[in-house]
C-alpha cells in the first residue's frame, strides 16, 4: 500500500467514524434543545392564557376565543389532574388534513368557577425540518473536509514527496557494476536531504568494496601469471635434463600437469574479471557457423575419441553483431562442456540462427540444476573441469544482454542463448 493511501485511509476511517457517531448525537441534542425551547414557550402561552381568562366574561366570548386560537383547546367536565403535563403526540390536523407531530401542554384552569382542561399545542414540524437541515449541512461540510484532505494529500505527494519518489527511482535503476556514482536530487526538505546523503554515502562505500573486489581478482591473477610462467618454463627445462630417470620424468610430468591446471584456472579467472570489467567492447559482424566449425574442427580428435556425433544445423547466413573474442569463448566453452559430459557414442546437437544458438548434449540429470552456472560448482569431485566454464558463459550473457537458459529434457542437457537486444 502506498504511503499516501495509508495516510488517507486513516483520515477517512477517522472522519467516517466521527460522522457516524456525531450525526445522531448532534441530531438528538439539537432536537432536545428545540423541544426544551418549545416547552418554555408552551409555559409562557399558559401564563398568557391566565391573563386572558378574566377578560372572557361570557360564554360567547369564550367560544370566540376558541375559534380564534386553535392551539388552545378548552374542555369542560373532565376529571383533571391538578398537575400540569407536557408530552409529544401525533394528532390529526384538520387544516392540512394530515397527521402531525405536536408538543402538548395539559393544564387545569378555572373559568367562571368551573374547572376546565386547557390543552396548548405547538407543531413540531418546523423543528424537525430545522434539525434535518442542520445535520445535512454538517454531513456536507464533513464530506467537503474529507475531499479536501484527499486532494491536499495527493498534491503533497506530488510536490513534497516528489524527491522521495525520485530517489527511489534512481536507486532502483542503479547498477553497481555499471554506474560510477548515483546522482540524487537536491531537496529543500531536511529529511530527504539526509536520506540522499545517507544513500550516496552507502552507495559510494559499496561501490568501493565492489571495485576493490574486482580489482583484487584481476590483480591477483595478473600477478600470478609471471611466477606461474616461470614455474612452467623451469619444469620444461628440467624435462630437458639428460640424466632424467623414468621416475623423475614422471614426477616432472605430474608437476607440469599441476602447474598447467593452475595456469588454466588463473587464465579463466582473469578472463572472468575482464568480462566483468567490460573490456570487450569491439563489435563486428560474425558468422556463427564458421565459429562453430572452427571449434568443432579443433576438437575433432576429442570428438572421435569419445565416438561423438555432431548434428550441426546452424543457418548458413546466421550473422550477428557481437564481440569476436567473447563469441569464441561462448562457443568454445559450450562445445567443450558438451564434449566433456556427453555419454560415449552419443550425439551433440548444435542449432543456431541470427537470433539464438542452442547446444544440446546427452548426460545424467543434474542434482543441483539451479547451481549449474555458479563459480566452482561441480556436480561431483571426479569432474575434470575447473568449474568456471559455464559461469564465464553466464557472465558473458549478463554483460552482453543475451538470455541464457538451461533445461533438461529427453535425457539431454540444453543450453540456449538468445541474442537480441
Amino acid at each position: 500500500m502506498k504511503l499516501l493511501s495509508r495516510t488517507v485511509q486513516n483520515y477517512v476511517i477517522f472522519s467516517a467514524l466521527l460522522l457516524i457517531i456525531s450525526t445522531p448525537v448532534f441530531y438528538f441534542s439539537i432536537q432536545r434543545l428545540f423541544v426544551h425551547e418549545l416547552d418554555k414557550e408552551l409555559i409562557s402561552h399558559k401564563s398568557e392564557f391566565y391573563q386572558i381568562i378574566p377578560l372572557l366574561k361570557t360564554e360567547s366570548e369564550l367560544e370566540f376565543f376558541r375559534l380564534m386560537n386553535d392551539e388552545f383547546i378548552l374542555r369542560e367536565g373532565q376529571p383533571i389532574s391538578r398537575k400540569d403535563s407536557i408530552y409529544s403526540a401525533t394528532l390529526y390536523n384538520e387544516k392540512e388534513d394530515d397527521m402531525q407531530a405536536y408538543r402538548i401542554l395539559n393544564t387545569r384552569v378555572e373559568i367562571h368557577g368551573k374547572p376546565h382542561l386547557l390543552q396548548i399545542r405547538e407543531s413540531l414540524v418546523s423543528t424537525k425540518d430545522l434539525v434535518t437541515a442542520i445535520v445535512a449541512i454538517q454531513v456536507f461540510l464533513i464530506s467537503i473536509l474529507l475531499a479536501g484532505l484527499a486532494i491536499i494529500n495527493r498534491k503533497l505527494s506530488k510536490t513534497v514527496w516528489g524527491p522521495f519518489y525520485l530517489i527511489l527511482d534512481r536507486l532502483k535503476r542503479y547498477q553497481i557494476d555499471r554506474d560510477t556514482s548515483i546522482d540524487l536530487p537536491r531537496s529543500s526538505t531536511a529529511e530527504f536531504r539526509d536520506l540522499s546523503a545517507a544513500i550516496t554515502q552507502l552507495v559510494e562505500r559499496n561501490r568501493e568494496a565492489f571495485q576493490n573486489q574486482k580489482e583484487f581478482t584481476e590483480n591477483a591473477s595478473h600477478e600470478l601469471q609471471t611466477p606461474l610462467a616461470v614455474c612452467r618454463t623451469k619444469l620444461e627445462l628440467l624435462a630437458q635434463t639428460k640424466e632424467l630417470t623414468e621416475q623423475q620424468a614422471e614426477l616432472v610430468g605430474s608437476l607440469f600437469h599441476g602447474v598447467e591446471r593452475i595456469s588454466r584456472l588463473n587464465k579463466n579467472l582473469l578472463l572472468l574479471s575482464r568480462i566483468e570489467n567490460r573490456q570487450f567492447l569491439e563489435i563486428e559482424e560474425i558468422d556463427l557457423l564458421s565459429v562453430a566449425n572452427k571449434y568443432l574442427d579443433l576438437y575433432r580428435s576429442h570428438l572421435q575419441d569419445k565416438g561423438l556425433q555432431v548434428k550441426c544445423s546452424i543457418d548458413e547466413h546466421a550473422t550477428l553483431k557481437a564481440n569476436a573474442v567473447l563469441l569464441d569463448v561462448l562457443m568454445s566453452n559450450l562445445i567443450t562442456n558438451a564434449v566433456r559430459y556427453s555419454f560415449e557414442g552419443s550425439t551433440i546437437i548444435l542449432e543456431g540462427t541470427r537470433d539464438y544458438m542452442l547446444v544440446s548434449n546427452s548426460g545424467e540429470p543434474l542434482k543441483n540444476p539451479e547451481k549449474i552456472f555458479e563459480r566452482f560448482h561441480r556436480e561431483s569431485r571426479i569432474e575434470v573441469g575447473n568449474g568456471l566454464g559455464l559461469s564465464i558463459v553466464k557472465k558473458i550473457c549478463e554483460v552482453k544482454g543475451y538470455q541464457l537458459t538451461y533445461h533438461y529434457r529427453d535425457s539431454m542437457h540444453h543450453f540456449k542463448i538468445t541474442f537480441g537486444g
Binding site: 627445462l237 620424468a249 607440469f256 576429442h302 573441469g385
Partner: protein, 224 residues
C-alpha cells in the same frame, strides 16, 4: 643466428636462453627498453623477442623505431597483456608473430625457428632432417624423395617436434599447439597419442628411422 630477448622478467629470460641454446642460437638479453635500443643500434639480429610491458617504456615504441629503421623482420611480440588490442597493434606495426604469455618453451622454439626459416631461406622453403624433407609452402613431407601422405594434424605435429629437435616436448605443449588455447581444458591427451602413433607408423613405413622417442609421463623427443 643471433636472437635478442627484450624482457624484464629475469627468470623467464634465463629459461628462454637456456632452451634456445640447444638450437645453437646466440642469445643476447635486454632487460629495459633503453638497453634494447642501444643493442639494436649496434647489432643486427635474426629474431627479436619483444615484451610489450617494460619497466622503462612500452615495447611497441621500440617496434615503431625498428619499423622506421627498416629492421622489422623477425620480431615476435611476447606479452602478458593478453589483449587483442596489443596483438592487432603489434601486427599492424609489422611484427611477425604474437605469443601471449604464459607460453610453452616448445611453442616459442617452434615460432622462433619459423621466423628464422622465413628470413634465412627465402624462396627455398624447405626443412630437412636426415632423410626427411618438409616442404613448408606445400605443407608436404617426403622421406628420401618419396612423399608421405600425412593428415594436417600429423604434419603440424611433425613440424613442431622437428622445430624442437633434441628437446623433450610436453604433451601439454603439443595439445596447445594442435588444438589451440582451450585444448588443455579436456585434460585428456589420448588424441595426441593417437596422432603420434599414426605419424610414427607412416614414417616407419616410408623407411624412415623412428626418430620420435616417447618420454614416459612427460611427452616426446625428436632426436637422431
Amino acid at each position: 643466428m643471433k636472437i635478442l630477448i627484450v624482457e624484464d622478467e629475469r627468470e623467464l629470460v634465463k629459461s628462454i636462453v637456456q632452451y634456445l641454446r640447444h638450437e645453437s642460437y646466440i642469445c643476447e638479453v635486454a632487460y629495459t627498453a633503453a638497453d634494447a635500443e642501444e643493442k639494436l643500434l649496434i647489432h643486427d639480429y635474426d629474431c627479436i623477442l619483444l615484451d610489450i610491458t617494460l619497466p622503462d617504456g612500452n615495447g611497441l615504441v621500440i617496434l615503431e623505431k625498428l619499423k622506421k629503421a627498416g629492421k622489422l623482420e623477425g620480431v615476435i611480440i611476447i606479452s602478458a597483456k593478453n589483449s587483442i588490442d596489443d596483438k592487432i597493434k603489434g601486427l599492424n606495426l609489422g611484427a611477425d608473430d604474437y605469443l601471449p604469455k604464459p607460453f610453452h618453451l616448445a611453442e616459442l622454439g617452434a615460432r622462433v625457428s619459423a621466423v628464422i626459416r622465413r628470413k634465412r631461406f627465402e624462396g627455398n622453403n624447405t626443412l630437412s632432417f636426415h632423410e626427411i624433407t618438409v616442404d613448408l609452402l606445400g605443407k608436404t613431407v617426403s622421406v628420401g624423395g618419396k612423399v608421405v601422405d600425412l593428415t594436417r594434424k600429423e604434419y603440424d605435429l611433425l613440424l613442431f617436434v622437428i622445430s624442437n629437435k633434441n628437446r623433450v616436448v610436453t604433451k601439454n605443449a603439443i595439445a596447445e599447439h594442435l588444438s589451440g588455447d582451450d585444448a588443455d581444458a579436456f585434460d585428456n591427451f589420448d588424441f595426441i597419442y593417437a596422432h603420434m602413433k599414426n605419424l610414427k607408423k607412416k614414417l616407419v613405413e616410408a623407411n624412415c628411422p623412428d626418430y620420435i622417442r616417447t618420454v614416459y609421463g612427460l611427452g616426446y623427443k625428436f632426436e637422431a
